[in-house]
Symmetry: C2
Subunit: 263 residues, 2 copies
């Protein structure tokens, strides 16, 4: 099976032009097939403030109303996505920017209205990711760059979590590719000692994870990330890596600096 | 040679949701391979006003400064493009939204600074349109939807006239396809009598055009459009049609309601 990297970067990188440029340089230099999934960053909130579009939250969860979905469609699907694509092109990487509506690559279900109406938010499932179009793009030598937007198939763009898109795409393509799913976050990897940045655990498998949990060594915040990683692995992804965006160059090799999670 | 329609719609359609929806329904129903090129509409100006981004003009020509290129990248490449794509998907048309940066399909030259500095404006040339990527998308059954944006290959998005993009793409693909380039504008076609909407001239060839010019029958505004049409035909496009967006359904057949311009 061909190797494929599915790499997610978040707002912390997008909001810093220097960090983003360094990351995109490393991303462009990867020789294997790859897909980039990007988050939104704070530009949407800032622009929304200028436009008088209030960021609404209910119980800590963001609500995407009509004005908010137009805002994120502009910012994530337009400004952020196209700036990344143009920058990658300048670095010799043949990027193609997409939302889940483009080529119908990621149809989603509008989140059902329960106690909370989240508005125009889409839930995705790996089984519904339209892999033929992604494979056709990869086969044509293109590098898909996915914005955190999907669609409902009824004409509406939906706001969707970038981590979830990355995981769904990785799982969906695991049938045809040996996928390494890479989450870039603000630490170098999973730390054995939160106070020591150099205490990165290089490899975690099921047995090791059980031991780490039993020892109570892991920070609370990292546990759901690792659980999600194992969920992706259970669904066929070969390996999941959690690391720093600055370490991308080594994290696409066999000698990783982040934490590799394997079965 | 396979038939291909390259269809351009302007702001007058984009600014009216009902007209746009009717147009997209007809566009989705076309069975032949096709490419849509859309203009910007007034949303960018309106949003720019809200954000305090002034629309600058010098000698009647729009200037695209840093704030303006971010604005049109958001609005044309994000909001307008993705709304069209999502609407087409809902109508069963497998649209994929692109700027000229995506897949490097339309590299452009930043307009040289002369008496006027137009800012981030791109001039395109058919010979530089990257047809392999457009053909790969068409071969995969996808329908490219092009925003009026290109890039300079050095990391910058450029503002580019939608008519020019449509013409450049039509000419570039004329080597592999029998292209009908369709410009949707505000009249049903080229009129023999400006006061009579039913005086559409169905067919204009070189000989007929010379006669119309000699008779002084054509309105001044239409002459550059017809000249551009013949320029596309001289460069290999099979036929150019000038007509109303509402007549798209018949204008993709042999019994057109607009004006067909042929060699």
């Amino acid at each position: 099976m061909d190797k494929l990297f599915v790499i997610k970067i978040g707002g912390n990188v997008i909001d810093h032009p220097g960090a983003l440029d360094a990351f995109l340089k490393d991303f462009a230099a990867i020789e294997a097939p790859r897909i980039l999934v990007h988050g939104g960053g704070k530009i949407a909130t800032r622009l929304g403030d200028q436009l008088g579009i209030e960021s609404k939250y209910v119980q800590g969860r963001r609500i995407t109303d009509d004005a908010a979905i137009d805002l994120v469609t502009m910012v994530y699907g337009g400004l952020v996505n196209k700036k990344i694509v143009a920058a990658l092109q300048a670095k010799g990487c043949n990027a193609i920017g997409l939302t889940g509506a483009d080529g119908n690559c990621i149809p989603a279900d509008k989140r059902p209205v329960g106690a909370i109406d989240y508005g125009w938010v889409g839930d995705v499932h790996p089984s519904r990711v339209h892999t033929p179009v992604l494979r056709a793009l990869l086969d044509a030598g293109l590098v898909p760059v996915l914005a955190p937007l999907t669609h409902d198939g009824a004409g509406h763009i939906l706001n969707t979590n970038a981590d979830t898109i990355a995981s769904a795409v990785a799982v969906a393509l695991a049938a045809s590719h040996a996928v390494r799913l890479i989450y870039c976050f603000e630490k170098r990897g999973v730390l054995e000692d939160l106070d020591r940045e150099d205490s990165v655990i290089s490899l975690i498998d099921r047995v090791g994870y059980a031991r780490l949990l039993a020892d109570g060594k892991l920070a609370d915040g990292i546990i759901p990330k690792i659980d999600n990683a194992f969920a992706a692995i259970d669904a066929g992804v070969k390996e999941v890596l959690i690391g720093d965006a600055r370490d991308l160059r080594v994290n696409v090799t066999d000698r990783v600096s982040g934490t590799l999670i394997v079965p």
